[in-house]
Amino acid sequence: MTTVPMMHAMIVAAILLGLGLTGLLVRRNIMFTLLSIEIMLNGAGLAFIAAAAHWKQADGQVMYLFIITMAAVEVAVGLALVLQMYHHLRTLDLDAASSMKG
């Protein structure tokens, strides 16, 4: 079995992070915003996995487990807030959530 060089995996991870960041900046729908954050987190997770494989250690994989746990927390709280937002505003558009100015 041939191994994937670490740099290639890192580039994929960076692309994921960039895609997520672009989505975060461009999309106005809260569901897509949450999705974009997940993609960014997975980019970081992939980078950890690649680095761990390179160093033949488990540390990076442990970090990945922490990252999915944290992503689950984020989604759980995030979706609860989305429900509340829909309850108040009847829309999932983030631009509508701008009652505070100054």
Binding site: G20, L24, L34, L41, H54, G60, Q84, S99
Partner: protein, 477 residues
């Protein structure tokens, strides 16, 4: 794990244990006063266990380390959490519509996350502490879910904190890819000051992540909206505990990695400090909402702290420790006044709410004025001595541009603080917007009295505290 290590871990064990105990207790019976008592008791017990804990630096697994540095900052954080818990009692009592008990679970967990941050010497514990803190903060910000502004603020904070966490993690992964270790000191030793493109980008991304959480310019835009939407106790918590913990971590990370002596980072951070000081103070000028004003003022104060941070060395770290203590006491004082004045419907955060405060509550008005003067850095208050130390650290390290920016921007800040003080001592033209006869809970009165005593003590006789901080940060290295 040895007994000594368990003793060192006691504060965390107590906090998490109390959070679980409250959660289980709520399943049986709800009682607000009892919940507050458990929360305050466990925070006090955690402080006591810190004071009675190991006196020598104790590594607890490769992840955490209890030394003078973490004892000092954990103590500060736990004490601030205790004040917020005490003040929340009266606040939630007045808001009968909200179920209030779960707030204290979140508060204890956030405190546990913050304590983890001050002890973290490993990227894994850094990340875990940060996420326990932010995860609790999301829920604390959106706690009054019936208010649209609170939900908006929660979503805003969640999206930005989630995105910045991902950037921070990617930075850690890059450093890990190059060094093969997640231990901060070991990674720094492997890099030995020579950073290539990969690690330069990695450390830069970590700093961006931290900058977001501290609301340093240019990542400061979220703070005002989040503070405005959040209930006053949460805003107080985010402004004091969360910022203090993250700044403590930044100081430890920088001491391990020697960030201040690395020219590109030094230049970037110095630029960020100048922009942060001016952006915070200039944006605060236009605010007539006290929460937004405090958000911008806290941004500016993080900029001041960066001056001492960049000065590095023992003097720089002592200045950071003292200024953070002074900042936390003072900010808690202002929020305490806001919390006791807040009514059943909304928080007392408008300028109109404070017009004629000196007539209705002369003592409270005096406390309010004193706290704001300390934020502005006038003599006889903790803020003055703190600012003096920041300047001394900056001058000692020959950071002239930063020192000049600090002096000019804090002069600007006088204007908006004085505006609120003037309002408090003005003649009310119309009957006050909030009912004048706010029954002040005895506990809140006690908390405010203690804050005032601390403020004057640090302002008039700071020598003892400064000596303690010097010892603490000397071990921290």
């Amino acid at each position: 794990m040895t007994l000594e290590q368990i003793r060192a871990l006691l504060p965390l064990i107590i906090l998490v244990g109390a959070a679980v105990a409250i959660m289980l207790g709520l399943a049986v019976r709800r009682n607000h006063a009892f919940t507050v008592a458990v929360a305050v008791g466990s925070l006090a017990a955690a402080i006591l266990s810190l004071a009675l804990g190991p006196t020598v630096a104790t590594p607890i697994t490769p992840l955490l380390r209890l030394d003078g540095f973490s004892v000092f900052f954990s103590g500060l954080i736990l004490a601030a959490s205790l004040f917020v818990a005490v003040l929340s009692h009266g606040y939630w009592n007045r808001r009968r519509t909200v179920i209030s008990e779960e707030f204290y679970i979140l508060l204890l967990l956030a405190a546990a996350g913050s304590v983890t941050l001050t002890m973290a010497v490993h990227f894994a514990s850094f990340f875990l502490g940060l996420e326990i803190l932010s995860g609790s903060l999301y829920a604390m910000i959106a706690y009054e879910r019936d208010r649209q502004a609170a939900v908006e603020a929660g979503i805003k904070y969640l999206v930005l904190a989630g995105g910045s966490s991902a950037v921070l993690l990617f930075g850690m992964a890059l450093v890990y890819a190059r060094t093969g270790t997640l231990d901060m000191a070991a990674a720094a030793a492997k890099l030995a000051g020579a950073l290539d493109v990969l690690t330069l980008a990695g450390v830069a991304m970590i700093l961006v992540g931290i900058g977001f959480k501290l609301a340093l310019a240019p990542f400061h835009l979220w703070a005002a909206d989040v503070y405005e939407g959040a209930p006053a106790p949460t805003a107080a918590y985010a402004a004091t505990v969360s910022k203090g913990a993250i700044f403590a971590l930044l100081v430890r990370l920088a001491a391990a990695m020697d960030i201040q002596s690395n020219p590109p980072f030094q230049a970037t951070l110095a630029a960020a400090a100048v922009i942060t000081m001016f952006a915070g103070n200039l944006l605060a000028l236009r605010q007539s909402n006290l929460k937004r004003l405090l958000a911008y003022s806290s941004i500016a104060h993080m900029g001041y702290l960066l001056v001492a941070f960049l000065a590095a060395g023992t003097l720089g770290r002592t200045a950071v420790g003292f200024y953070l203590a002074a900042y936390i006491i003072t900010t808690l004082g202002v929020f305490a006044v806001m919390i006791v004045l807040s009514g059943t419907e909304r928080d007392a955060d408008r300028l109109e709410d404070y017009i004629g405060l000196s007539r209705a509550h002369p003592l409270l008005a005096a406390v309010f004025a004193g706290m704001l003067l300390s934020l502005a850095g006038l003599p006889l208050t903790a803020g003055f001595v703190g600012k003096f130390y920041l300047l001394a650290a900056g001058v000692g390290a020959h950071l002239w541009v930063l020192v000049a920016a600090l002096v000019i921007s804090s002069t600007i800040s006088l204007f908006y603080y004085l505006r609120f003080i003037a309002a408090a001592y003005a003649q009310p033209a119309a009957p006050p917007a909030l009912p004048a006869a706010v029954a002040m809970p005895r506990l809140a009165r006690l908390a405010i009295a203690v804050l005032v005593i601390l403020l004057l003590w640090l302002g008039v006789y700071p020598a003892a505290v400064i000596r303690a901080i010097q010892e603490a940060v000397a071990i921290g290295r």
